[in-house]
Amino acid sequence: MQVAAFWALAVTAVASGVAVFRVDSMARATFALLASFLCVGGLLLLLDLHYLGALVVLMMIMEMLVMAVFMVMYMMNPAGLMPMTMIHNGRWALGISVAVFAALAAGIVLTPWPPRRGAPPDDPTYALGEAIMGPKMLVMMGIGLAILATMIGSVVLSTDRGRYDREDPR
C-alpha cells in the first residue's frame, strides 16, 4: 500500500515537473508545478512528517497562486494560445541536467549509506518544535531575519511610490 503510494506520488511528481516546461499555457505550467509540490507533500506524509507535509501543501498552494498573478503579468503569452518557444541553450541545458542526474544517481547508488540511528520520536512535530526553539534556535533566527530582509527588500525594489503618496488620494 505504502510502496504503491510512494511510486504513484513519485512518478506523478516527476511527470508534472517535466510538464512544467512542456506545456504552452503558463497557467497549466504553474499548476503542474503545484501538482509536483502536492505530491512531495504527500511523500512527506508517507515519511511520518505530518506537520511538514501539511505545511508544504499549505505554503505551496499559496505560493503558486501568487506566482500565477506574476506569470500572467509578465508573460507575453500566458494562456499559450499562440505557441512559441522561449528556450535558449536547449541542448546544453538538457545535456548538463542529464549529466547531473547521472552523477547524482551514481553517487546515490554507490554510496554505502550509514545504517539508521535512533527511532522516529512519537511526535515528530513536537521534536521539530523543541529543536527550533532549543538547539537549532539560531537557524530560526536566521530565517526570521532573512524573511524581514526579503520583505523590506522586495517592497523597496518593486514599489514606485514613496511613503506618503497613496494610490487613491482621499
Binding site: G17, L43, A105, W113, I143, M151
Partner: protein, 101 residues
C-alpha cells in the same frame, strides 16, 4: 520504499528543475525551475531524516529551511523582475545580459 528510491526521486526533481533554470528565457519560468530544484532538496531532507537519523530533528529543520527559501526566492525574484520591468520593459533573461558582473 527505500532511501535510494527517495534520493533518486530527489535527484530527478533536481535535474528537471536544473534543466528549466538553464533553458528558460522567461524569468518567471526560470524561477519555476529553481523551485523544482529546491523541491528535490525537500524530498532528500525528509528521506535523510527518516532513514538515517530520525532521532535528531536536523532533517526536519532542513526541510523547514528549504520551504522558507522557496518562498523568499520567489518574493525576491518577482521584486527583481518588477524592478527590471519598470526600468526597461524586460522580462527575459537575455534582455538583462548586461547585468553580468
Amino acid at each position: 520504499m527505500t532511501l535510494d528510491a527517495f534520493l533518486l526521486l530527489a535527484a530527478a526533481l533536481f535535474s528537471v528543475g536544473l534543466y528549466g533554470a538553464l533553458s528558460q528565457q522567461s524569468i518567471v519560468m526560470l524561477m519555476m525551475g529553481l523551485e523544482l530544484m529546491v523541491n528535490g532538496i525537500v524530498v532528500a531532507g525528509g528521506a535523510f531524516w527518516y532513514y538515517i537519523a530520525p532521532g535528531a530533528a536536523d532533517g526536519q529543520v532542513l526541510v523547514l529551511v528549504a520551504v522558507t527559501v522557496m518562498a523568499l526566492e520567489m518574493a525576491m525574484g518577482f521584486a527583481v523582475v518588477t524592478a527590471l520591468f519598470r526600468a526597461r520593459d524586460a522580462d527575459l533573461t537575455d534582455d538583462a545580459e548586461d547585468l553580468r558582473g
